[in-house]
């Protein structure tokens, strides 16, 4: 009897477990996992949108799990999770990593899934590669612009001649050691000037760094440092702190920081285009992209449909306008851009004016090699170990060699 029971009990357990039928809608199919790299101030808005989505009929049982990472961590974690076969359903971030995700095949092209004609075209272009679009734009911008403290400089300079005049004459009288806070360590902050000198760091997938525009841009930054208009050895946090502590009148930073500066300065905060380069008569052209939602290539069937509905809800006109009010970020939807909220806000209006002279951020994976070639050599030029000419030539060689190594 005992022997019989020893045989029968495991078999009975097996039969019971094997007979388990899947529920009509498995819980994982109603859970959307989203990874983002946003600032903490954005979290309430995101949670508000998700809560709104869950209130729609039929969505009551949908669970949205939001996980935060720093920008670089998000890229690495998403790649690792995708290789391991368990990526999140959605990632929210800038377009510069989308090239990597698309080449590796970890995100879905969205051309057939969404009507992309509703969005501002430059911001769609910034996430297009090889004829396909790899994400849905949430915001328009992610661009650099000039912030100024109206208590120190009531009117922004229109061109670099006016800017130099202010820095040389008015700033010292106000007791300012420097007049502009600039993150000189990052090549992203150099690119508006490259554009103003008529260049651009990459042409399709080929680096274009050894150019007169790059050489002149480096020389321009060196001149700013030499004349002590900008502090040497200043990274993002340093520039941010100098401006907030009113140790500089101007700052070049991105639209992501608008709400933080508005909170700090209130009505004394001014936003303007980066001053026109008097030498060429051209406006500096910051890179334009935005924040995007990218869909994991693992999505299919019902889950894909659910995620698609969430994305559609996220970018509907109501949420896009709400985003402007809550985050001071420009919408990606063309109709929302005409909202009175933008037209009545001088900060947002000027931010939009800056976008008009910007250029879409390149999405090709090769841009990574460009950033990493420019960064150390820009640093070497700044400390005088290389001339701008030597640095630009070396940048080109390094970028080409890094691209070859990536593809080899």
């Amino acid at each position: 009897m005992r022997r019989l029971s020893r045989t029968l009990v495991p078999l009975a357990c097996l039969a019971v477990l094997s007979g388990c039928r899947p529920p009509e809608a498995p819980p994982s199919a109603r859970t959307i996992v989203l990874w983002e790299q946003e600032d903490a101030s954005v979290f309430p808005f995101l949670d508000q949108v998700f809560s709104g989505f869950r209130k729609l009929p039929g969505n009551e049982d949908v669970r949205i799990v939001r996980t935060h990472y720093h920008t670089e961590d998000l890229r690495q974690q998403f790649l690792t999770a995708s290789i391991a076969g368990s990526p999140p359903d959605l990632i929210m971030g800038p377009s510069d990593s989308a090239g990597v995700y698309s080449v590796a095949g970890f995100v879905l092209p969205v051309d057939g899934l969404f009507d992309l004609s509703r969005f501002n075209q430059p911001v769609v272009e910034a996430i297009s590669l090889d004829g396909k679009t790899w994400g849905i734009p949430l915001t328009n911008g992610n661009h650099l612009m000039l912030f100024y403290n109206k208590r120190l400089a009531p009117v922004p300079p229109r061109n670099t001649a006016e800017f130099f005049e202010y820095c040389a004459q008015k700033a010292p009288k106000l007791g300012l050691q420097h007049c502009l806070a600039l993150n000189i360590a990052e090549p992203f902050w150099l690119m508006p000037w490259v554009g103003a000198y008529g260049g651009w760091p990459i042409d399709n997938k080929t680096p274009t760094l050894d150019t007169p525009a790059m050489r002149k841009s480096i020389a321009f930054v060196l001149e700013l440092i030499r004349r002590k208009f900008v502090p040497a050895e200043c990274d993002y946090n340093c520039a941010d702190a100098l401006f907030k502590e009113e140790k500089t009148a101007f700052l070049i930073n991105g639209d992501w920081a608008i709400s933080a500066y508005q909170e700090k300065f209130g009505q004394d905060l001014g936003v303007a285009r980066i001053p026109m380069l008097s030498e060429t008569g051209r406006w500096p052209s910051p890179m334009i992209s935005g924040k995007y939602l990218m869909l994991s290539s693992k999505l299919k069937g019902e889950k894909l449909d659910l995620v698609r509905r969430l994305v559609e809800f996220f970018v509907n006109e109501e949420n896009q306008v709400a985003q402007v009010g809550a985050l001071q970020r420009l919408p990606s939807l063309t109709r929302a851009a005409a909202s009175p909220v933008i037209q009545q806000s001088p900060v947002l209006k000027n931010s939009m004016a800056q976008i008009q002279v910007g250029r879409p951020m390149p999405m090709a994976t090769e841009i990574r090699a460009v950033w990493d070639a420019v960064r150390p050599l820009l640093g070497r030029a700044i400390i005088g170990k290389m001339t701008p000419e030597e640095a630009a030539a070396q940048m080109q060689r390094d970028a080409l060699s890094k691209i070859q190594e990536m593809n080899d």
Binding site: R3, R6, T7, P10, L11, C13, L14, L17, S18, C20, R21, P22, P23, P26, E72, Q76, L79, S82, I83, G85, V100, V103, A104, G105, F106, Q177, A185, E186, P231, A232, E233, D235, C238, T365, R368, A369, W371, D372, A373, R375, P376, L377, G379, R380, I382, I383, Q394, D398, S401, K402, E405, M406, N407
Partner: protein, 399 residues
């Protein structure tokens, strides 16, 4: 917050269930091995339970091909395991094996498997453009020793070759470890005396080591800023107080731009001294006073006591501490990464591991990075072996 806490508790509970299942599995093999049903029962029962688990986890929709091959493989593997337990183990050493099994399984999963996978990667070609094909088919092109050759001829950095990087890393390790030992020794000897408020001093001295490294490094990085950092502010004040120093060429330094490696070294020395101090202090306190008393009676000077008593008796403590310190410093990416900029920064402060990090996570050269990591491992292994032999660190001080 509560949800995160529940996730952690759930994970711990899952681990506990797995450990219990493993122990039950082993218990069955140790106690039932001589029963007639043992071989067929195990060879069929374990795969059947696995099949039930697969059905449950895939919500009743398992991949047929994958499931059949897995269950077939499990049948054969479990039959062989049962044979081993029936005819070789025969219930012997059941307690130690059952006690060690969870730890051993953890080691296999967390160390042995990644190591084997790393070797596999190093001989294949996984990079950004082959990732998708690999995750779809599981197959990668075999490239033999090509990745290892690339490690020596194609550095991840633009202006620094592998051998320059290697020499820089050796230099960085040497300077850091020497300063850690000398500084740690000096402080440990001071603290080993009968002084007032010893506990307070010890607490303050341990702070850099005890606080999270990210916080400590970033805080100190700020102090090296050319204009607003504490160090240059002090230099400026000093020059105002003693203006003749300026005439001798003394001036504030752009630490992060001109001397990034020196800055990293100074920060790492500050971070590493407390660990050595604690280890050496422990060693000093274990040396009996009687040796010193006897030496004093024989007329030995303080230096002779240090050379002939303290140093030899500290060797068993010091040799492993130096070995560990060298390995940690050689592989210390944190300080370099945090000081020179997380997005890449300057190459002037890169050492082997930070270059490896760039190859893997900036350029997605996974196979190349695996080969690079194996080369670093072999270098460290050889250097450690030489050091242990030379220092006779594994021998007893009283032997």
């Amino acid at each position: 917050m509560i949800e995160s806490l529940l996730q952690v508790v759930g994970f711990v509970a899952l681990l506990a269930v797995l450990v219990v299942a493993l122990e039950l599995y082993l218990h069955a093999h140790f106690t039932q091995f001589d029963k007639r049903w043992f071989l067929p029962g195990m060879a069929l029962g374990v795969p059947a339970l696995a099949l039930a688990g697969i059905f449950f986890s895939t919500e009743g929709r398992p991949d047929p091909g994958w499931t059949i091959s897995l269950i077939g493989g499990l049948c054969v593997a479990e039959f062989l395991v049962a044979l081993f337990f029936r005819y070789y183990v025969r219930g012997k050493h059941s307690l130690p094996i059952m006690m060690l099994a969870p730890g051993l399984l953890g080691l296999i999963l967390l160390i042995v498997y990644p190591l084997i996978f790393e070797v596999y990667l190093a001989f294949h070609d996984l990079k950004l453009t082959t990732v998708m094909a690999w995750s779809g088919t599981g197959a990668l092109p075999f490239v033999g020793f090509k990745q290892f050759c690339k490690v020596f001829v194609s550095s991840p950095l633009s202006g620094v070759t592998f051998f320059q990087l290697f020499l820089r890393t050796v230099w960085w390790t040497f300077i850091n470890v020497v300063c850690h030992v000398v500084g740690g020794f000096a402080l440990a000897i001071l603290l080993n005396n009968q002084i007032r408020f010893k506990g307070i001093y010890r607490t303050f001295l341990v702070i850099p080591w005890a606080m999270p490294q990210v916080v400590a490094v970033l805080a100190l990085r700020g102090e090296f800023h050319s204009q607003y950092g504490f160090i240059n502010v002090m230099i400026t004040r000093l020059l105002e107080w003693l203006p003749w120093l300026s005439r001798l060429g003394a001036e504030p330094v752009q630490w992060l731009s001109f001397h990034p490696l020196l800055t990293c070294t100074l920060i790492n020395i500050w971070l590493g001294i407390p660990f050595m101090m604690v280890i050496i202090l422990g060693g000093l306190q274990s040396i009996s006073r009687h040796y010193y008393d006897a030496a004093a009676i024989d007329g030995a000077s303080a230096f002779q006591q240090f050379r002939l008593i303290t140093l030899p008796l500290l060797r068993p403590v010091l040799a492993p501490a130096i070995t560990l310190g060298s390995i940690w410093t050689f592989n210390n990416i944190n300080v370099i990464y945090l000081v020179t900029g997380q997005a890449g920064g300057t190459e002037d402060a890169d050492i082997l591991v930070s270059a490896l990090y760039k190859a893997a996570f900036t350029y997605y050269r996974y196979s190349y990075s695996a080969a690079f990591a194996i080369v670093i491992f072999l270098i460290l292994f050889t250097l450690s072996l030489l050091w242990v032999r030379y220092s006779k660190g594994t021998e007893s001080a009283y032997g």
